[in-house]
């Protein structure tokens, strides 16, 4: 557990250490360090494929990296030797200044562990997408590499991002030999804290008000988008991109304002080189959310440089309101799935459904948002209007009748939270300290109750044997056994959910994981209709992996258990669908025991616990 904790910290520290050689600005150091990490990985992979073919990719990567990191540390110490680090740290006034932030982070940590993680202890997860990312990291540590995840594992049938995210995850695993599942558990905690920190810092940067920043951070801690978005509590490429976008916004505000438009291209490149690198990073982390992030960053830069007049801002605000009204009306015309993917129809939500989700996440706190809109128009507050313009344009995209567009809320939610906090503060500002604090407490309690109920409703579907989790400790034990006894010449076969999870936990390949092809699903389903062991064996042997990157398969393991039998009982249309899975472990039922006995009587049992059995086919 300690190694995983250290690795999770290393995930953030390693790129910063590399990037500090180029710039002292922490965010830009992280950006440049991350891109350097990605470049080094590709170069190392190229070397092992073309020149040093006897060397393993991960060994070379580890060696190169330790060398580069060592060199970097020496150069950094040399470069920054005049930096009086200790004095700044122990300055009492500095500590006092950051006390509210410290309180916010401690409070958030308590919320996180006592409520969100209360029955999801290390290393259990309730983030379904985590397993596909862990599978890619496992592939990297096994020596496979590509710019696209779908070239590395057939768990990915569609590429929304490059493997930059996975490379960043793989580095601490390679260097510190951590368990990626455990590391990811810690990473989600740091991610949660960073989303709160980012909201706090951005608010303080924009408004220079500590109280407001604290309130915005608190609201950010207590809003959980429990469907499709998952900004703060799930670490995913899109949520990570959104978080980095916020830090990017802060750095844009930290930049020197432009004095004149008479600048040449060389000056632009010099002044904004890290901004361009940030664009590249955001796009590599997520092609679509990253693209939105880049567009919003440009708008943010335009607004922060006061290029647009107050009158033009008024018009833009009006334009954004008209735009969102048009988007809402557009929902009456129809809705579009945008892709041929079967799951797209489930991500194409109606306006009513989206509204219902917003109420689940925010209750009716949007009243504060409308209050800010009202006063921004009535009192012509340009700063508020700029924030509202970006938020309303973002909300328009979110509410548009297209599949997956709700995902754009992953960035917009930060601005919405700030505006809601702004509304609360503006209403409370006229009162003395203790009354104002009481009002803030009341709002905080309302958000807290909503958060508690919302996350509980989300988690309850994963309840099994006292925990909220996609997988059980029995499945962890089975995965450990698989890891010890088999290599990547083995393939696991089971229901999509079991495959997906065990592939991630054990590193052993499966045909498609949760994205098992329809053809394979129908073959697996047909096992139910036969009592002939030879036919069952033949069916399983015909189940094939979709990717050539794997080595020839020496062994096929068939895994059966409560989850598998639960999947077999699903209607055919749900079995064929990517959207339906058996999301949590299931007990072995009395009626399943006969089927299990039949299989164990006809195939060799390699491993068995009270939840699942692994058979040799």
């Amino acid at each position: 557990m300690l190694t995983d904790l250290l690795s999770s910290v290393a995930f953030y520290i390693i790129p910063i250490l590399l990037g500090l050689l180029f710039t002292r600005k922490l965010f830009f150091a992280w950006v440049s360090g991350s891109l350097l990490v990605y470049l080094v990985a590709f170069i190392a992979y190229g070397f092992t494929k073309l020149l040093f073919t006897e060397l393993s990719f991960t060994s070379l990567l580890r060696g190169v990296f330790i060398f580069v990191l060592g060199l970097e540390i020496i150069l950094i110490i040399f470069k920054y030797r005049s930096f009086s680090f200790p004095d700044q740290l122990i300055n009492l006034s500095t500590i006092k200044k950051h006390l509210p932030l410290l309180f916010l982070l401690i409070f958030s940590s308590i919320i996180y562990f006592s409520i969100w993680r209360s029955l999801t202890p290390y290393p259990l997860h309730i983030n379904w997408d985590v397993y596909e990312h862990i599978t890619v990291v496992n592939k990297i540590t096994d020596g496979y590499y590509s710019i696209l995840p779908s070239r590395m594992t057939d768990t990915f049938t569609f590429n929304s991002y490059s493997t930059l995210f996975h490379t960043l995850l793989a580095y601490p695993v390679i260097l510190l030999k951590a368990d990626v599942v455990g590391m990811y558990w810690w990473l989600e905690f740091w991610h949660y804290l960073l989303t709160i920190l980012a909201t706090y810092l951005l608010t303080r940067k924009i408004f220079s008000q500590e109280e407001l920043a604290l309130l915005a951070g608190l609201i950010s801690a207590l809003v959980f988008e429990s469907s499709i978005v998952y900004s703060s509590l799930f670490l995913l490429p899109q949520t990570f991109t959104a978080l980095l976008t916020l830090f990017f916004f802060i750095n844009i505000l930290n930049g020197e304002p432009i004095n004149s438009f008479r600048v040449n291209f060389k000056d632009i490149l010099s002044k904004y080189k890290y901004h361009f690198l940030s664009f590249i990073l955001l796009l590599l982390l997520h092609f679509i959310v990253g693209a939105l992030a880049c567009i919003l960053a440009v708008i943010w830069w335009v607004f922060s440089n006061k290029i647009i007049s107050s009158k033009a801002t008024n018009h833009l605000l009006l334009g954004s309101i008209i735009f969102i009204i048009i988007t809402i009306i557009f929902n009456l015309v129809g809705s579009w799935d945008l892709t041929n993917r079967e799951e797209a129809v489930h991500f194409n939500l109606s306006l009513m459904k989206k509204s219902s989700l917003f109420i689940s996440w925010y209750s009716i706190s949007f009243i504060f948002f409308f209050y800010v809109l009202y006063i921004s128009i009535r009192k012509n507050v340009t700063l508020y209007q700029k924030l509202l313009i970006i938020s309303i344009i973002g909300l328009s995209l979110v509410l548009a009748p297209f599949a997956y567009f709700l995902k754009f809320f992953v960035i917009i939610r930060y601005l919405i939270n700030i505006i809601i906090a702004l509304g609360v503060r503006n209403l409370s500002i006229g009162y003395v300290g203790y009354i104002r604090s009481s009002l803030y407490c009341l709002v905080a309690i309302a958000f807290f109750v909503n958060f508690y109920l919302n996350q509980l409703t989300f988690k309850e579907q994963f309840y099994f044997k006292g925990f909220y989790s996609h997988f059980s400790f029995a499945e962890v034990e089975a995965s450990e056994w698989l890891k010890r006894n088999f290599n990547n010449n083995t393939i696991l076969i089971s229901d999509p959910g079991t495959q997906y999870i065990l592939e991630a936990l054990s590193g052993i390949n499966s045909p498609g994981g949760a994205y098992m092809s329809e053809e394979n699903r129908l073959k697996l389903r047909s096992i139910n209709t036969t009592q002939d062991p030879k036919e069952i064996k033949d069916i399983i042997l015909r189940l094939k992996d979709g990717l050539d990157v794997e080595k020839p398969v020496e062994k096929k393991l068939f895994i059966v258990g409560g989850r598998y039998f639960a999947w077999q009982k699903l209607p055919e249309d749900q079995q064929k669908s990517f959207y339906y899975n058996v999301w949590r472990p299931h007990r072995l039922l009395v009626v399943d025991q006969a089927s299990l006995n039949f299989l164990t009587n006809n195939f060799k049992v390699l491993y068995q616990n009270d939840e699942l059995t692994i058979l040799d086919i």
């Binding site: 209360s118 109420i359 689940s360 209750s363 009716i364 706190s365 009243i367 504060f368 209050y371 609360v424 503006n426 209403l427 409370s428 006229g430 009162y431 009354i435 009002l439 009341l442 709002v443 309690i445 309302a446 958000f447 109750v449 909503n450 508690y452 109920l453 919302n454 509980l456 409703t457 309850e460 579907q461 994963f462 309840y463 099994f464 044997k465 006292g466 009982k569 949590r584 007990r587 039922l589 009395v590 009626v591 006969a594």
Partner: protein
């Protein structure tokens, strides 16, 4: 003065409405698990699938029995029943749940001669415990019949792969169902089931198991197919005034 009050009132009102909307949307007059929801009705406790689409079974004092000597009667009937209520209102239940994460329901039934407490406790691992307690009663029953009324289209099978039908309600469709599921049909001339049963499983018409009822050695089982009522008759020890029943959801 009004101008000073309005902003505070807006904050207070919005916060209270936020609480109201949150609690109302995520109903906890039931307690819920990943695969079921409990709804407290005026005269029964109903257990539904998690999407509330189908009632799996219900428990009611109107279906439970008490045995006093050779006399068998319902725990509550129309003449004796006064009212039923939860220990406290829904908001208090919710607050208690918020503070103590208390996954249980307490429901009280008042009759002319008894106060009966029903307690539903989520045991974890898909199991619930149903406690029926005669809290204040001048009755001294020897047995309590713990009744479960199952879904209309459900069937009863046991650990020996037998399926039970009443001879009065036997049909070709039911025989065909038994054959398709490879169950051995047992035709009952009365409501009493055989003694060598350790588990009852309730399945639906698609052979999907819905609940499992573990049976103790000293318990008798009665099945009335007309009402889809399963009664598990349990001895009530002299020093005790409650019986406990475990039910597993599948």
């Amino acid at each position: 003065m009004n101008k000073l009050l309005i902003p505070a009132l807006l904050v207070i009102t919005t916060s209270i409405f936020m609480l109201f909307v949150s609690m109302n949307r995520m109903k906890f007059n039931s307690h819920s698990d990943s695969i079921y929801r409990t709804i407290v009705n005026p005269q029964s406790l109903s257990f539904y699938t998690s999407d509330l689409a189908k009632e799996i079974f219900r428990i009611s004092p109107f279906d439970d029995y008490i045995y006093i000597g050779s006399d068998k009667k319902h725990m509550a009937d129309i003449q004796t029943f006064k009212r039923a209520y939860q220990q406290s209102n829904e908001v208090f239940q919710l607050i208690r749940r918020l503070l103590f994460d208390n996954k249980h329901i307490e429901w009280f039934v008042i009759t002319d001669n008894s106060k009966i407490r029903y307690e539903i406790i989520n045991k974890g691992g898909n199991g619930i415990s149903v406690i029926r307690e005669l809290e204040k009663s001048n009755l001294r029953p020897q047995f309590i019949g713990q009744s479960v009324v199952i879904c209309n289209d459900c069937y009863v099978i046991d650990n020996n792969n037998r399926i039970f039908f009443s001879e009065n309600y036997l049909s070709d469709r039911q025989i065909q169902f038994a054959s398709s599921g490879h169950f051995m049909p047992v035709i009952l001339s009365e409501t009493l089931l055989p003694i060598n049963i350790s588990t009852l499983v309730i399945i639906d018409s698609n052979f999907n198991p819905k609940i499992t009822l573990p049976i103790k050695p000293n318990q008798q089982i009665l099945y009335d197919q007309k009402w889809q009522l399963i009664e598990i008759r349990s001895l009530l020890k002299p020093e005790e005034n409650f019986v406990e029943q475990t039910i597993y959801f599948e």
